[in-house]
Structure formats: structure tokens, C-alpha cells
């Protein structure tokens, strides 16, 4: 089997596991996300624990992988940029507005397609459009 096929199977399994985590945590449900993002009497800190647990496991696991190296790839493809620029922060802020409006971010929206409700389909179509617009209007993207 070529590495290409192994990588594809591995990615599919990772996607399955990732989606399970999103579903179990409640992140795939915009209601739960908005209960975390909306600061009122119904505020729920639950998703804070999702992030903390996710970071804890990833922090430990990444250190382990960094010592061993990857299996189906010659190198680890890690981001190298360290500069904090306007693009990063403006982009994060625009993303934050969208996240707060609907309670969907990219991963949960893709997983929520499996609910067959119209919302995630509309959201994902708009998200792809937004991404393609960015490439067209922002120079150098």
C-alpha cells in the first residue's frame, strides 16, 4: 500500500475520532456553544473544560510525537510563523463574530452536516464562499 492510501485511511479515522469528541462534548450543538458564549444567567462553563481537556491531551501527546516523528510522513508539518500581525487578529475577530452569531465553527459545522438539518448545510456553503472571497479580496492570501 502506498503512503498516500495509508495517509488517507489514517485521516479518515482521525476525522471519525475528532467528530466523536465534538459530539460527546456538545461542541457540535450550536445551543451548547451559545450557552458558553452568551454571558447571562444560563451561562454554562462546560466548553471551557472541553478546551482544557483537549489542550492537556494534545500538549502531552504532541511532545511524545515530537520525540518519535510521524509514521506515514517523512516530516512533521508544523507551522513556522511566530509574528503576530494585524491579519491574524482581525481574522480571529471576524471569525469570533461569526462564531457568536450562530454557534458554529468549522469542525462542528462539518460534523453537524450529518444531522441533515438545513442550518449546517447553509452554514458550510457560506463558510466556503467566505473563504473563497477572502482569497480574492485580500492580497497575498
Amino acid at each position: 500500500m502506498t503512503h498516500d492510501i495509508k495517509r488517507s485511511i489514517a485521516a479518515f479515522i482521525c476525522g471519525l475520532v475528532f467528530a466523536t469528541g465534538l459530539a460527546v462534548s456538545g461542541l457540535a450543538n450550536p445551543d451548547k456553544v451559545l450557552q458558553f458564549l452568551t454571558l447571562n444567567a444560563n451561562w454554562s462553563p462546560a466548553l471551557l473544560f472541553t478546551m482544557l481537556a483537549g489542550i492537556l491531551v494534545t500538549f502531552a501527546g504532541y511532545r511524545w510525537v515530537l520525540r518519535r516523528g510521524p509514521i506515514f510522513s517523512d516530516t512533521l508539518h508544523l507551522p513556522t510563523r511566530t509574528d503576530v500581525d494585524q491579519r491574524l487578529l482581525v481574522g480571529a475577530a471576524i471569525f469570533g463574530v461569526g462564531w457568536g452569531l450562530a454557534g458554529f465553527c468549522p469542525g462542528p459545522a462539518l460534523t453537524a452536516l450529518s444531522s441533515l438539518h438545513v442550518e449546517p448545510f447553509l452554514f458550510v456553503a457560506a463558510m466556503i464562499a467566505g473563504s473563497l472571497i477572502e482569497v480574492r479580496v485580500v492580497p497575498g492570501s
Partner: protein, 142 residues
């Protein structure tokens, strides 16, 4: 409440396991917006795994609903125009800011990247502000 929090933490740990698996197996960061954008751009040898990761994300949601008999989405009465506007902003913003909740919030923070820490602080703060204001303005309760 306690049950919500333990499920939230357990789900987070599973997300962490998936992120570690993807780096260990394929040497890749589990940043969903980046993977999705990469899947939309033709790069020889790099499209298949990205498309299959996204397929796994959808299939995983499907299996979860079938196995646990619980719906992923519990409310569908929000204005569709809001959902569409939100999607546009999320697609635009995550591309401009090079990442989303997974890439910056989980993977980047775990690598102690200052860029990711600041991006996450920004989108969580702006997300909270937006959600809180929206409830007041148009009365779409969380």
C-alpha cells in the same frame, strides 16, 4: 451540570486524541479550517487525505447519532439569514487569521504558539461579546 461538564471534558480529551493521532500518523496539524481550505485547492498528493478527514468528520457525526440515538442539533429555529451571515464571516475570518478553534485553540495552544494564544483569546472574547449582544438586540435566546 456536573454531567455536562464531565461529558464536555471527555469530549475534549477525545478531540485531543484525534489531534495527536493525526500528527503521529500523518505529521499534520488538526486545524479544520486549514484542512478544508486545503481540500478546496488542488495540490497533487495532498487532497485525498484532507477530503477523507472531512468525510470522517461527517461520518463520525452520523455514527454518533445512530449509536447513541441522540440528535446532534437540538434547536433549529434561528433565522437562516443569521446562519448564512455567520458562515461567511467564519469562512473569511478563519482564512485571514490562519485558523479556527481546532488549529489555534487546541493544536496551536498545545504547541505554546503565541500567535495561537492571541488568536484564541481574540475569537473567544469577540464570540462572547457577539453572542451576548445578539441575545439582547434581537432576542434570540441561547
Amino acid at each position: 451540570m456536573m454531567n455536562d461538564i464531565s461529558m464536555a471534558a471527555a469530549g475534549g480529551a477525545i478531540i485531543g486524541i484525534a489531534s495527536v493521532l493525526l500528527l503521529w500518523l500523518n505529521g499534520r496539524i488538526a486545524g479544520i479550517s486549514g484542512i478544508m481550505n486545503g481540500a478546496l485547492t488542488r495540490v497533487p498528493g495532498e487532497n485525498a487525505w484532507r477530503i477523507l478527514f472531512v468525510a470522517g468528520l461527517v461520518a463520525g457525526g452520523f455514527f454518533y447519532q445512530v449509536i447513541t440515538d441522540t440528535p446532534l442539533i437540538t434547536r433549529t429555529d434561528r433565522p437562516l439569514a443569521l446562519t448564512a451571515a455567520a458562515g461567511l464571516l467564519v469562512g473569511f475570518g478563519t482564512r485571514l487569521g490562519s485558523g479556527c478553534t481546532s488549529g489555534h485553540g487546541i493544536c496551536g495552544i498545545s504547541r505554546l504558539s503565541l500567535r495561537s494564544i492571541l488568536a484564541t483569546a481574540t475569537f473567544v472574547a469577540v464570540g462572547m461579546l457577539t453572542a451576548t449582544v445578539i441575545v439582547r438586540l434581537i432576542g434570540v435566546p441561547a
